[in-house]
Every structure is written in C-alpha cells, then in structure tokens.
C-alpha cells in the first residue's frame, strides 16, 4: 500500500515537472531562432540549462525508478594550451587570452555532441510522456468532480478510476523510466569515446613513467657501473706499466681493481632489484613478497592463495605497489605489524595490505600513493584505501583480469550417473537394437519364428510388433544418450565460460 502511495506521489511530481518543461521548450525555441539569426552566444547557456534539467531527470530516474541512468555526454575539451610564443591558437586565428579559444571549443563540443540533440528530443517529447503519467489523475479528477452533476454512474466510476490509478501507477512509472533510458542513457559511441580518452591518458602516463624510469637507469649506469669500469680499465693499464718496475705497487693497484669491481657489482645488484627483483623472476609474486617481508623491519605476515602466476608485467606492478605500501606503513604510519593477503577473486588479482600504524593516509596528498595508482592504471587496476586517523590502514589493490590468460582450462568432470549412462549406452545398446530389434523384425517379416533367442517372438501375437519397435527404440535411445550427454555437457560448460567472459567485457 505504502509503495503505491509513494508511486502516486512520484508520478504526480514527475508528471508536473514534465508539463513545466513547456517553459524550457519555449525558451529553447527562442534560442534556436536567435542562434539561427547569428546570436550564437545564447546557445551555450541554454544547452547548459537543458543539461541541468536532463541531469535532474537522470537522478530522479535512478533514485525513484530504481534504474540509474549514466550521463551520456562526450568528455569536455581540454583547456586550450598556449603556443611557445604565449598566444592561443584556434584554427587560423591567434588570441591573446585563452577566453575565445575556450569559448569556441565549448561551443563546438556542445554542438557536435549527439547527446545534446538527444537531450533536445527528449525535452520536446517529455511533456507528452508526462501527460501519460498525469492521465489517471485527470480521469480520477473528472469523476471526483462528477457528484456535483446528477449522474448515477459517476460515483462508482470515480471509485473505479481512482483504484485503477493506484494499481496502474507503478506500471506507468516503469514505462516513464524506460522512456528516460531511451534517450538519456549513454550510447555505445559515447561510452567508447570516454574509454578511449581514459586509455589515452593512461597510455600517456605509462609512457611518461617508463621514460622517467629509463632515464633514471641510464643515469645510474652512467654515474655508477660505467664509470667504475672505466676506472678499472685505467687502473689495469697502470698495473701493466708498473708490473715490471714496481711489482709491489702493481699488486696494491690490483687489489683496488678488485674492490672497484665488487662495488660495481653491488651497485648493479641494487639497480637490478629496482628494475625487476630477481626473486620475482625466480619465484613469482608470492615468494617475492615473502622475501620483501623478511627484509622489512616490521613484522609482516604474508598469506598467498594463487595457483598460477599472473603475467609478468602485472606481477611486477603488484610487487612494486606492495613494496611502496610497506615503505609507507613503516615511514609514515609508524606501523609495527603488517598483514599482506594475496588472493584471487574470479580473474581479479586482489592484494590487501593492512597495518597497525597511525592511519591518515590520503591518496590525494601522498605522491607515493599517486605513483601506485599510476602504476596500476596501466592494467585497469585500482587502489582503495581506508585509513581513518588513528589507524588501522587497509589498502586494497584490485587488478581485474590479471589471471585471465594464464589460468589453465578447468574441466568440469561429468557426474557419475552420466558416465554410467554413457557406458551402458555404448556397451549394451547393440543388444536391444540388433538381435532383439532389427534382426527379430527381419525374422518376423521373413516368417521364420522358430529362432529361440528372439525374445519378442515368444510373446503372444499382438504384443510381438510393439515389443520389436520398443527394442529398436530402446537401442537407438541408448546410443543417442551415450552420444548426446557428453556433447551437451561440454557445450553447457563452455557456454558458462563464454558468458562469464562476455559479461566481463561488457563491464
């Protein structure tokens, strides 16, 4: 009952709102006219107004009708960037301030976005849709006003109409929600456009951080190992000179060379650890994190539940993210104990890092956390942090589809009863089909009914043919079952697999 009352209230509100849109329609008609006359400056604010109205409709559809509608607009244009000479360029014009190019970009963005025109269509037709919502109220109102007229049918009709309104309202609302979805929800194109833009950004960031990483490695090699090798070569040259004249000095120099080579190796080891830790290459994520835990001054508990190794880049991203989180916990959180849990949820690799530190970690401020997010973004991964002041801090890393391709094919074995049926079919199907079925039929047609092993021929006359047909059908059925069951099993299994995969893609 309460549901219906609420529905009636909502229907009334949405219907009246839709009627009020007539004002907006009038306004946009004026705007269209003015724009046509060249006064395009009125276009942008009107479109913004309409967008505000449709955003409200989307929100109400989500909140009242239970089916949220996502905005469908193309992403806004990036702010104009000055040229090296400080001017702003828009097509063939140069501007001193970013105002005009920005305005132009905005205008173009609004004008070329198909969602703008879909919004417009929705606005023009919405009062009609709203009328349907209001129709029951109108009918009920008419009949409620009727008792003032002398009409014997009016009062019961009014009651029926009111009742019908109450019952029909949820259906009408559902229809209205569908109408909103039809024009206001994102099209496949706008979804793709958004995704492309996001991927563009991620790619740029990944390329940036990769380039920075390479620069760092180059610098480290240049200043470290390379320089040391040069020095070693020079010292060895000196040793060659000194060998005959001053063997003692040569020997001392050789000791220095050995020392330098050792230092160079230590530096290279550190560098390699930063690029791709050897344990990670040798043992995979689980043991690499265990090794990390052993080297940490905190007490770190690691639990790993992974049967397969993720792809190497994903593994590496997860490893360095965990490493960074551990460093943060020790440095900023002052944690004593840390719990790391690595597990899989479907095809998602999930890492949970919890510490008993003082909390208050904020991804928007810590550059370390930003770095982790960037690292994960390249794999569609996300970092979620819960860190109330006073702790504890929990960080959850989700890397979706990290385990898709490395997962071995899981074969669901057939249940035992199916195996028994298949075995019986192949093993005994011949028995009813041939000797007791087809051969008996031939024998009966030939009129030779003296063969003692044709069981059907022992039956009384009228039962003989049904028995033969039954035997043939039984034999065919057994073979059919033996053939069909494994096929059906395999198909159903692969279908669930594919459905899961396609659902993943949809999301």
């Amino acid at each position: 009952m309460k549901r219906h009352v609420v529905a009636i209230g909502q229907g009334l509100a949405l219907g009246l709102l839709a009627l009020a849109d007539i004002v907006l329609i009038a306004l946009s008609l004026v705007t269209a006219m003015l724009t046509g006359l060249g006064m395009i400056f009125v276009f942008t604010p009107t479109i913004r107004l309409i967008r505000r109205r449709t955003m409200l409709a989307r929100e109400l559809t989500g909140r009242w009708l239970g089916t949220p509608v996502a905005p469908s607009y193309l992403p806004p244009p990036p702010p104009p960037r000055p040229q090296p000479d400080g001017w702003y360029r828009h097509e063939r014009q140069l501007y001193k301030t970013p105002r005009w190019p920005e305005w132009n970009n905005r205008w173009k963005w609004l004008f070329t976005d198909p969602a703008t025109w879909r919004d417009g269509l929705w606005l023009f037709l919405n009062p009609v849709a709203g009328t349907f919502l209001l129709l029951p109220f109108a009918v009920a109102g008419c009949f409620l006003a009727a008792p003032w007229y002398p009409n014997p049918v009016a009062t019961p009709a009014a009651a029926v109409a009111a009742l019908a309104t109450v019952i029909a309202m949820p259906w009408l609302l559902r229809g209205y929600g569908w109408w909103n979805h039809l024009l206001l929800s994102p099209t496949a194109r706008s979804v793709l456009a958004g995704r492309v833009q996001r991927l563009d950004r991620v790619r740029l960031e990944a390329a940036d951080s990769q380039a920075a990483e390479l620069r760092r490695i180059e610098r480290d090699l240049h200043d470290g190992a390379q320089a040391r090798l040069v020095a070693m070569g020079m010292t060895l040259g000196a040793v060659e000179e000194l060998m005959d004249r001053d063997p003692a000095a040569a020997k001392a120099l050789l000791a220095k060379v050995r020392e330098a080579s050792s230092t160079a190796l230590t530096e290279l080891r550190g560098l390699v650890r930063g690029i791709h830790p050897p344990v990670l290459a040798e043992r995979g994520l689980g043991d690499a994190v265990r090794a990390l835990a052993l080297d940490s001054p905190m007490k770190v508990t690691v639990t790993v539940d992974l049967k397969t190794r993720p792809e190497s880049p994903v593994e590496s991203a997860a490893y360095f993210s965990i490493s960074e989180l551990l460093t943060n916990a020790a440095r900023h959180g002052g944690a004593e104990r840390v719990w790391i849990d690595i597990s899989r949820q479907d095809r998602t690799l999930r890492v949970t890092v919890t510490d008993d530190g003082s909390g208050g970690a904020d991804p928007s401020r810590g550059s370390g956390l930003r770095g982790i997010e960037r690292r994960l973004a390249a794999f569609d991964g996300v970092l979620a942090i819960s860190s109330p002041p006073g702790g504890p801090t929990t960080a959850i890393i989700d890397l979706p589809d990290a385990l898709t391709w490395s997962e071995p094919e899981t074969k669901v074995p057939m249940p035992r009863w199916k195996l028994v049926v298949v075995g019986l079919g192949w093993g005994l199907g011949w028995l009813p089909l041939f000797p007791q079925g087809l051969v008996t039929m031939v024998a009966k047609l030939a009129g030779a009914d003296a063969f003692s092993w044709f069981l059907a021929l022992y039956l009384p006359g009228p039962w003989q043919w049904p028995m033969i047909v039954f035997n043939i059908l039984l034999g065919l059925g057994m073979y059919g079952a033996a053939l069909a069951l494994p096929i059906a099993h395999a198909r159903r299994h692969s279908m669930t697999e594919n459905t899961i995969r396609s659902l993943k893609l949809d999301r």
């Binding site: 080891r269 390699v272 050897p278 344990v279 040798e282 265990r290 080297d295 001054p297 007490k299």
Partner: protein, 221 residues
C-alpha cells in the same frame, strides 16, 4: 685424498674459472654441469664431498639450481652444498637451513674474487660447517634489530655474533677482530647467555642455533 667437487654454473667462463680455482687449491672436480637436471643427476650419482651451485640455471633460468640442491639434500641428507648467487635472499637462506643438518653455504658470486676466503668457505661447508654471506647476516640482523633481546648486545658482541652467524670459528673470529681467542670465547658465552641459548663448542651447531634463533625472533608475533 683431495675433496671431490661438483660444480654447476651456466656461464662457461665462470664455470671454467671455478674449476681452475678449485683444482688449484687441491680439489678434484668430478663434474662441472650447466643445468638443473644434470646437477641433480651428478649430485645423487657422484655423491661429492661438496657441491658449488649457481641458483639460476637452465632450462627455466629461475631457481633451478636451488631446487636441485634442495632435492639432492632430501635424497642424501647432509650433502654439503655451497650455493652461489648474484643476489642473496633471506628467504632462500631459510629454505637451505630449514632441514637443520648444516653443511650449507650461501654466498654472493662476488665472494669468488677473494680466492682464499672463497676456498676457505668451500672447505668449511665440505667439513659440515656453514658459510653464510655477510649480506644475508646483515639483512637478518637489520630486520631483527628492533626486537629484544638483540638490542641488549654490546657493539662488540654484535660484531662477534655477525661473524659467528656467517659460520666462522672462534679462531677465525679472533683473527678478524684482533682479539685473543679467549676473549672471543667470553663474548660468545655472553651472547649465548643474553639470547638464552645453550652454549656449544661445535662451530656448526652454534651457527645453526644462532640462525634458528634469529629466524624465530622474526617470525613470532
């Protein structure tokens, strides 16, 4: 009779270098192999007095050598193995020491540069002793340092503990630290007292006790 050695190393130059080095110091190299499966066959077939093994070997280039060494030690308990690697991990050290039978070495490849010390380590392992890389010990101590009662050790005692954990005898420690052997003996007794361990004269049992202690100190909550 010279000790019999099996060498496993995939880089030709390094393998030949090791062969020459050990032959020059009076070892008999019975096999020099370059892959994990070969190593396992050589270890269980030849039963050498000591094996010098690189962690990363073909065919997978992961921790093939370590796995082969561990498998061989399961088949032949206490088979002396000295593991060499470009990097040292506490994780691997723990796995090597886990069976508690000693005769284990775990060193960085750089340690080969100092021939005497390296050969000394090989001999120690062959004799059933332990040779842990100083870097492993340093990491172990660094990550255990905050926990009691290691904090109660004096700096000198820590130095002695580090050398002891590497697997060195009292004589070697005294030489290293320019102390008399009796002074080292006093230090070790004091360390064992502070850590609550039963004192022992057997170098190897002593090392294992210390390493086990350090590992335990880390892993308990």
């Amino acid at each position: 009779m010279s000790p019999r050695v099996v060498i496993a190393e995939d880089l030709y130059l390094l393998r030949e270098g090791l062969v020459h080095l050990l032959q020059a110091h009076g070892f008999e190299v019975v096999a020099a192999v370059e892959s994990g499966p070969e190593l396992l066959t050589a270890l269980t077939g030849e039963r050498p007095d000591v094996a010098v093994v690189d962690v990363r070997l073909p065919p997978t280039f992961t921790d093939e050598g370590l796995q082969a060494a561990l498998a061989a030690r399961r088949a032949v308990p206490g088979l002396p193995v000295l593991v060499l690697s470009q990097h040292v991990e506490q994780l691997y050290a723990r796995e090597l020491l886990a069976d508690g039978s000693g005769a284990i070495g775990y060193l960085l490849k750089d340690r080969v540069f100092n021939a005497e010390q390296f050969v000394d380590a090989v001999r120690r392992v062959a004799a059933g002793g332990t040779a842990m890389d100083p870097e492993v010990i340093a990491k172990l101590l660094a990550s255990t340092a905050r926990h009691e009662p290691l904090g109660a050790l004096t700096p000198r005692e820590r130095e002695v503990l580090e050398l002891m954990a590497e697997g060195r005898s009292n004589a070697a420690i005294s030489q290293r630290l320019f102390l008399s052997e009796s002074a080292v003996g006093k230090h070790t007794a004091s360390i064992f007292g502070k850590l609550g361990l039963a004192p022992s004269d057997d170098d190897n049992r002593r090392v294992l006790a210390v390493l086990t202690y350090l590992n335990a100190a880390r892993s308990q909550p």
